[in-house]
């Protein structure tokens, strides 16, 4: 497709001597939420880290907005317009909420300010605890801070790694609602184990198993396909 935003072709990634990703092909269309599904250890996080340049691919290419970014260092990739919300949220514990937001800001122009106001309306808790150290926030608040921080820059793509992990169902619902709202403004790649969340948000899905993409298609399709869900996601 012409305007594919992100395209991974035949990506292989090793971590030390272990071969984690095998010939991963993966595409993201602008304006959509693409969900990466799969069991623990299937290679979902490594896929995101490879896109960010935090793990380097041994071969294959990653293209973003038509440009080859495979060999770029992480900070260049981030500057190209990719925001990253890691599995552990990557909050700087001794920095206040406000400082956590400010570290990530690449510009401080009006557009950034606008996005900041918008995202603070979305997560009023962050405004409330603006001066509180990031380490003292609750799990849900940390997640929101991390998502807000990735959004505040002029990014075209957000990579969000398991936002539902370790959160209470009520909080998960809140996170889902907020990502739903963000969806209108940006493109998202979501790694999720929580099928409920994935199915609420996703337009398209990829299933990884043992570092191989075993299936992909429209989310609609997966919702109906009980067999596939049982086989790879362990949901009856």
């Amino acid at each position: 497709m012409e305007n594919t935003l992100l395209k991974l072709e035949q990506i292989n990634t090793h971590i030390e001597q272990f071969h984690i990703l095998h010939n991963i092909d993966f595409e993201v269309q602008p304006g959509e939420v693409t969900v990466l599904l799969g069991r623990n250890g299937a290679g979902k996080t490594t896929t995101l880290r490879t896109i960010m340049g935090l793990n380097s691919a041994t071969n294959g290419t990653v293209q973003f907005k038509g440009e080859d970014i495979t060999k770029l260092p992480p900070y260049h990739i981030a500057k190209r317009g990719i925001g990253y919300v890691p599995e552990d949220q990557g909050i700087f514990y001794d920095l206040s909420v406000g400082e956590n937001m400010r570290v990530g800001m690449r510009q401080e122009d009006d557009a950034t300010k606008e996005r900041m106001d918008w995202v603070l309306d979305l997560f009023p808790d962050l405004k409330k605890f603006w001066k509180k150290p990031g380490g003292q926030l609750s799990g849900g608040q940390k997640q929101m801070l991390s998502i807000a921080r990735s959004y505040v820059n002029d990014n075209d793509l957000l990579l969000i790694d398991e936002p539902s992990k370790g959160l209470a169902p009520v909080v998960v619902e809140k996170v889902i609602e907020s990502i739903e709202k963000m969806k209108e403004k940006t493109t998202v790649v979501l790694v999720e184990q929580n099928f409920y969340m994935a199915s609420r948000l996703g337009d398209r899905f990829y299933i990884l198993d043992d570092g191989i993409t075993v299936h992909h298609g429209d989310m609609e399709q997966l919702r109906e396909d009980e067999e596939l869900k049982r086989k790879y996601l362990g949901i009856a």
Partner: protein, 290 residues
């Protein structure tokens, strides 16, 4: 009473010098997980360059500035030539920076000659003030003042500037800082240079107090700086200040009463800290300490 005050002032002045070496060391370790054993050599280089420039220009201030410049340049070279090839490998880092320490110390003898170099104070900092029974040596007060100003300056930069924010964030989680679009290596080179410059400044400030400079002083002060960093907590600037004052004061008081024991007391202090609180007095989250 006046004795106690004098010893305290002496101890605080020494503590400030220890702080100047230790704060670079602690930030370099916290930010990039690099343990730089050659850091102490910068102290000696600062001392020699300071004396030389003071002699040539007859301006103490220019001497201090020359020492800072020498520190910046040597810091940059150290980072590019010595540290960069061994990122991420602790054993190699320890081995190579120790070797570089030797080379820097010997190089000092090649450039400035193998003999001890005499240092003097500028006239306007010579002498002392009397407050009743208490006499305060001017030069020591000057060291304390500079040390305090630098501490406040560093804290302000860390607290209120974007670079400072990035440094603090980098100490906690380097990877995330990069994923936010910041080139952490550039920041690190900057911190390395500033840290080295502060150590060099410390050396240039120290020698007019002691009167002599010698190449091996780098090793001696390097060891003290490490002890300070360990006691204060790796990565913590306020921790370095507190620990440096502690070490300076204990050295000054022990030195007066049992001069032989001051080094031993400092070592024992470090042992106790390491065994009961290996993370140091001030812990920064995200800095590994086991």
């Amino acid at each position: 009473m006046e004795l106690i005050i004098n010893l305290a002032i002496n101890g605080i002045a020494m503590g400030m010098l220890y702080f100047l070496i230790a704060c670079g060391l602690t930030l370099i370790f916290g930010l990039m997980d690099v343990l730089n054993f050659s850091h102490g050599a910068l102290f000696a280089w600062g001392a020699y360059v300071g004396i030389w420039a003071f002699d040539v220009t007859e301006s103490f201030v220019i001497g201090l500035i020359a020492a800072i410049l020498a520190g910046l340049i040597l810091g940059l070279l150290t980072e590019l030539i010595i540290i960069k090839p061994v990122y991420g490998n602790h054993i190699q880092q320890i081995l190579i920076t120790l070797g570089f320490m030797l080379v820097l110390a010997e190089l000092l003898k090649v450039v400035f000659g193998p003999d001890i170099m005499a240092a003097s104070r500028p006239g306007y900092l010579d002498g002392s003030w009397s407050f009743g029974d208490v006499t305060v040596i001017k030069y020591r007060a000057f060291i304390i003042l500079i040390g305090l100003l630098i501490f406040i300056g560093i804290m302000l930069v860390l607290k209120f500037t974007k670079v400072g924010l990035i440094v603090r964030a980098g100490v906690m989680n380097k990877e995330m800082v990069q994923a936010l679009g910041i080139n952490i290596r550039l920041v690190f080179i900057g911190v390395f240079m500033v840290g080295s410059a502060l150590a060099a400044l410390g050396g240039a400030l120290f020698v007019p107090n002691s009167g002599v400079a010698y190449a091996e002083m780098g090793m001696e002060f390097g060891i003290y700086a490490f002890i300070v960093v360990i006691i204060g907590g790796m990565g913590s600037v306020p921790g370095s200040l507190v620990a440096a004052l502690l070490v300076g004061l204990s050295g000054s008081f022990m030195g007066y009463y049992y001069s032989d024991l001051s080094m031993v007391v400092t070592m024992i202090l470090m042992f106790i800290i390491l065994i009961f609180r290996p993370q140091g007095l001030f812990q920064v989250s995200g800095v590994s300490n086991k």
